[in-house]
């Protein structure tokens, strides 16, 4: 890894280069993407996914790249190793740790507590931390309603942000990769270097756009099974405990029932002790 000044923020540099030329290049690239059959599938798929009417999973707004900076924090202040590597690594770590936490065994079960996964406030600290950086849960009231069962939807929202940010970067990739190089090397940049960097990042973006969604979908399918069973497991454990209570209650009832014949076989009024 090259030694670069850590303080240089990436966004202002990008803004500087996103002039008319950048827009023109972006439009040309977008047309090129639309005409490329393999990439068309990707975009087509994204557009269909964004048509989902669920308000949390909205369309790309153009602000997702900025949001991703906020979610992943300072770790992406440096352009090298390139932004896509850092994004993908951070994204993978976030998803992986939240999923592992979600499927983890619950250590102790308290049957007297109203702790049920779908109740507000049951989200883990990691999940809350991530959700608080995503638009649907930025308001404190919304965040307070977040529950453990929302894990899937929060991760899908992160995925949407990630995909939108990648797509946005893809559109402006030529200028962005050039700006990255200018930031690092000053004016001593060759055209071949720009094209090489552009090609490298383009492949990575396409890879992430191809893999991220099906990987998360499959993961959630498996994790939800485990999550669903956990609810059942807790219920069954509580039924078992209450069964023991019921058994003890009936055992006391049986002890009392032993007196029944004597109580009721009262032919003589001996019970009147007044």
């Amino acid at each position: 890894m090259k030694n670069i000044p850590q303080e240089q923020p990436l966004a202002p540099v990008k803004t500087r280069y996103r002039g008319i030329v950048g827009v023109a290049c972006g439009v040309l690239l977008a047309i090129a993407i639309a005409q490329s059959s393999g990439e068309k599938d990707l975009l087509g798929r994204l557009i269909i996914a964004d048509e989902n009417s669920y308000p949390i999973l909205a369309k790309c707004s153009g602000k997702e790249e900025k949001q991703l900076y906020e979610i992943f924090g300072s770790a992406i202040q440096s352009p090298f190793p390139d932004t896509i590597d850092i994004w993908s690594q951070q994204y993978r770590q976030q998803v992986s740790s939240i999923i592992e936490e979600y499927i983890q065994e619950e250590r102790s079960i308290n049957c007297l507590e109203n702790f049920i996964d779908h109740l507000p406030g049951t989200a883990s600290s990691q999940l809350r931390s991530l959700a608080s950086k995503l638009p649907p849960w930025k308001e404190s009231e919304d965040l307070a309603m977040l529950s453990r069962i929302d894990t899937g939807i929060v991760l899908l929202e992160l995925l949407r942000t990630y995909e939108c940010a990648l797509t946005e970067r893809y559109v402006f990739l030529f200028t962005d990769s050039a700006s990255d190089l200018f930031t690092i090397q000053g004016d001593d940049v060759w055209w071949t270097q720009i094209f090489k960097e552009y090609g490298k990042q383009k492949r990575k973006i396409l890879k992430e756009l191809t893999i991220a969604r099906p990987a998360l979908n499959r993961t959630l399918a498996i994790a939800n099974k485990s999550g669903g069973l956990r609810l059942l497991r807790r219920d069954i454990e509580c039924v078992k405990r209450s069964s023991i209570d019921i058994r003890n209650g009936f055992a006391l009832g049986a002890e009392s029932a032993a007196c029944m014949p004597r109580i009721q076989d009262s032919k003589a009024p001996f019970r009147d002790i007044e």
Binding site: I103, K225, M260, K267, A268, P269
Partner: protein, 781 residues
């Protein structure tokens, strides 16, 4: 143990890796990378592993660089051809491997935690369900439940260190199965070949003795038949040795109390690295995946190191039988796939709209016969828990001097204080082919004659006849048993048949408890074919049943059985005694069912033998003995609108996979305004759509035709995205269908119980007892 290789990197990372390999965007998986150079050995260059990733990333400068090809210069067109050849082969192999993993992922997402493998993480659910059942069930339930449920016991290791030691040794053996090193793949778990590891991880999922009993001892360590599916069958001798050691040294005996017949003892699982765990039962030991995400994929490189070229469809592995595979596991055996469903629970007998027309997959097997439902008749009241055994034998204080039952006639035997009858069993030739129970004589004794060479072992005939004795015990001497022959016999046979099933006598016969009881009821009532059943019993089934239940030549004799009664028979005998007498001791296992049996019998005995409203000792001859009867309040009519649901049985609906696929085909074709075509690809391009509806300009015609493919693609994509949702809904529908009946009836029962409890709570109970002197008034009562 931190730096050992593993295949499970975390759920998301695993799935991400699968997707990466399926798309081949920057690398192929190591196995494919090793396979291609061996398979394509006649190319212009001597292919090496490093060439494969160069090809799929279209890195021509590296792929055809002389430095990477023994200094050989390669023409550009040759380079392109080489790249295409590599990509083509890599794509095909990746597709197959992705398909295998996807199928495994789908199965995992639906079946994980519900499959019933021993030691499965979520098996806590089965275990708890089983324990809940044990807390609730009465002894009678256990004796009459038509489903065979061998008892399961949780046992802890006496020597836990030894268990850990064996697990560590196993881990060492498993680690030896990783192959290859030094690859520069980006994914950690793609840097070694793990096909042998995966094969061994699955091989002993049903246990080492399970494998050895079917395939013999291990002789060829790690050697296969060099087919694509060889790793399903390869044996691993060192692993087998350790597994046998685990079972033999940790779980072979010393259980206190001793295990019942067919009882299973399950020990805690031991972790083998991060991927596997060791499970141990008293009868076997095996290994299973903690997270079974990786299937055994069709082999590319054989165990001998050669290339598996494929091209043939390998012979399918044999489908496991009813007691094999997952059904060999204690919890799995209770699943619907592992036992036939009684006929009246089967789809074919239900007036629903399912019919087995070939388009359906029936997930259940049916018992062949459809039998009458037998109704038990009693002399008075429900006689709760009066058929079967729920009490444990106890020598009561009041019955110390009773004559002990011997295999001979005991003429001095008399009922004790706590019994309404004495049961005198004796062995001999009874002339009935099994046994006979006579009515209670004047002395209160019921004689039972047992034959040594009856239709079944004396143990089961004793159980059967003891039930008949129970039916007679509380009746006056000389009274016949209430009810018709079939209801009397069925009650007795269901208990002996259940005992035979529990003891494994009927294993492999395919005859269930209820079917056995019905056939034997026919036999007892005069006509083995149809005395009690709606349909005729087939001769073949009857003969098979007789063959299975016939007594063993060296089995226990009648005399031995009477002298040492089977615990179940002893419990039945004990349960025929009076329950709610303060001078008699009663012992039973503390379960909800048994407590209810006790309370219920006390209530019955109180109501049947005593008055609820007291009387008085009269002074004059004409005085009223029960003056307070007139003070009885109006009957509150508790539960007057109580409707208890019939115990109809739920069943699994058919899975109509073909029908669902056809519906999706219809959707696909409708999306393109075409009728259903099979295969649906036929809907993808039909020039008639445009040629029969021409537009004004030729260039528009051309554009429209060209766009047609794209339109179809977009709709197919949309449908593709929806299929998962459609499938989920279909699955949900099946589940709802299955649960609807059961839940509705359960809800009705809970509602009825709730109503009764509430009404009891609202009951106005008088706070004063009947006065000593009757003053002619009901005031204050």
């Amino acid at each position: 143990m931190h730096n050992v290789p593993k295949v499970h990197a975390g759920l998301y990372d695993d799935v991400y890796g699968f997707m990466l390999h399926s798309t081949m965007l920057n690398e192929v998986e190591l196995m494919v990378e090793k396979f291609i150079p061996k398979a394509l050995n006649k190319e212009v260059v001597r292919l090496q592993q490093k060439h494969i990733d160069f090809a799929i990333t279209e890195n021509y400068s590296q792929l055809c660089n002389p430095d990477n090809n023994d200094g050989k210069f390669i023409q550009y067109d040759q380079c392109v051809t080489l790249k295409n050849t590599i990509i083509e082969l890599a794509k095909r192999e990746s597709l197959i491997r992705t398909l295998g993993r996807d199928l495994q992922t789908i199965a995992l997402s639906y079946e994980s935690g519900a499959s019933g493998y021993t030691g499965e993480k979520e098996s806590a659910i089965y275990r708890d369900m089983y324990e809940i059942g044990k807390i609730w069930e009465s002894g009678i339930d256990r004796m009459t439940n038509p489903i065979k449920q061998p008892p399961i016991r949780k046992v802890l290791f006496e020597d836990e260190d030894k268990a850990e030691e064996i697990a560590d040794d196993l881990q060492t053996e498993f680690q030896k199965l990783f192959e290859g090193a030094g690859s520069s793949k980006s994914e950690l778990y793609n840097r070694k070949l793990y096909h042998k590891y995966v094969g061994a991880g699955w091989r002993y999922r049903h246990g080492v003795f399970y494998v050895q009993n079917r395939e013999g001892s291990c002789t060829k360590d790690g050697e296969g038949d060099e087919t694509e599916l060889e790793y399903i069958k390869v044996r691993w001798c060192e692993i087998e040795k350790l597994l046998k050691k685990a079972r033999n040294e940790l779980a072979s005996g010393g259980f206190d109390p001793p295990l019942e017949p067919e009882e299973i003892a399950i020990f805690p699982t031991q972790s083998i690295g991060t991927d596997l765990y060791l499970w141990i039962r008293n009868d076997d030991a095996g290994v299973m995946w903690k997270n079974p995400m990786r299937p055994i994929l069709p082999g590319l490189i054989t165990s001998a190191g050669s290339v598996s070229e494929g091209g043939d469809y390998p012979i399918h592995p044999r489908e496991p039988g009813e007691d094999e595979g997952i059904c060999s596991h204690s919890f799995g055996a209770r699943g619907y796939l592992c036992r036939p469903i009684e006929a009246d629970r089967c789809i074919s007998n239900d007036a629903e709209d399912f019919d087995a027309d070939g388009d359906e997959i029936l997930l259940t097997g049916c018992e062949p016969q459809n039998f009458n439902t037998f109704v038990r008749m009693t002399e008075s009241g429900p006689d709760l828990c009066k058929v079967g055994g729920w009490r444990t034998p106890v020598r009561q204080d009041g019955d110390q001097n009773l004559v002990k039952d011997t295999p001979n006639k005991d003429p001095k035997m008399r009922p004790g204080k706590c019994t309404n009858c004495a049961i005198d069993m004796h062995c001999g030739n009874c002339g009935s082919g099994a046994g006979i129970t006579r009515t209670k004589n004047d002395k209160g004794v019921i004689e039972i004659c047992i034959e040594d060479d009856g239709i079944a072992a004396p143990k089961y005939i004793i159980m059967h006849e003891l039930i008949h004795a129970q039916q007679l015990c509380d009746l006056p001497p000389g009274s016949a048993r209430p009810g018709g022959c079939c209801s009397r016999e069925y009650s007795a046979h269901i208990i002996s048949c259940k005992a035979m099933t529990d003891d494994g006598i009927l294993d492999g016969s395919g005859i269930g408890v209820e079917e056995c009881a019905s056939i034997l009821s026919n036999l007892s009532c005069g006509n083995w074919k149809n005395a009690c059943t709606k349909v005729d019993v087939e001769q073949e089934v009857f003969d098979k049943l007789k063959e299975f239940i016939k007594p063993e030549e060296d089995g226990a004799t009648c005399a031995q059985e009477i002298n040492a009664l089977d615990p179940r028979s002893a419990s039945i005998k004990e349960s025929s005694k009076k329950t709610c007498d303060t001078n008699c001791r009663v012992e039973y296992d503390n379960t909800i069912g048994n407590n209810l049996c006790y309370i219920g019998q006390c209530v019955e005995e109180s109501l049947e033998n005593n008055r609820i409203i007291p009387g008085r000792i009269t002074l004059g001859a004409q005085d009223e003995a029960y003056p307070w009867d007139a003070c009885t309040k109006k009957d509150p009519q508790l539960g007057r609108l109580l409707e208890l649901p019939p115990l109809s049985r739920t069943f699994l609906p058919a899975y109509r996979g073909q029908h669902i696929i056809q519906q999706i085909d219809i959707l696909l074709c409708q999306g393109n305004a075409l009728p259903r075509l099979t295969p649906p690809i036929l809907c993808s391009f039909d020039p008639r759509r445009r040629t029969t509806l021409p537009v004004r300009f030729f260039y528009q015609m051309g554009t429209s035709l060209l766009n047609q493919q794209g339109e179809q693609q977009a709709r197919s994509d949309a449908l593709h995205l929806s299929i998962e949702n459609i499938s989920a809904r279909v699955g949900q529908q099946l589940y709802n269908y299955y649960m609807r009946k059961a839940l509705r009836e359960f809800t009705d029962i809970i509602r009825a119980a709730n109503m009764l409890t509430r009404q009891l709570g609202e009951l106005d109970i008088p706070d004063s007892v009947c006065p000593r002197f009757y003053n002619g008034s009901c005031r204050g009562l």
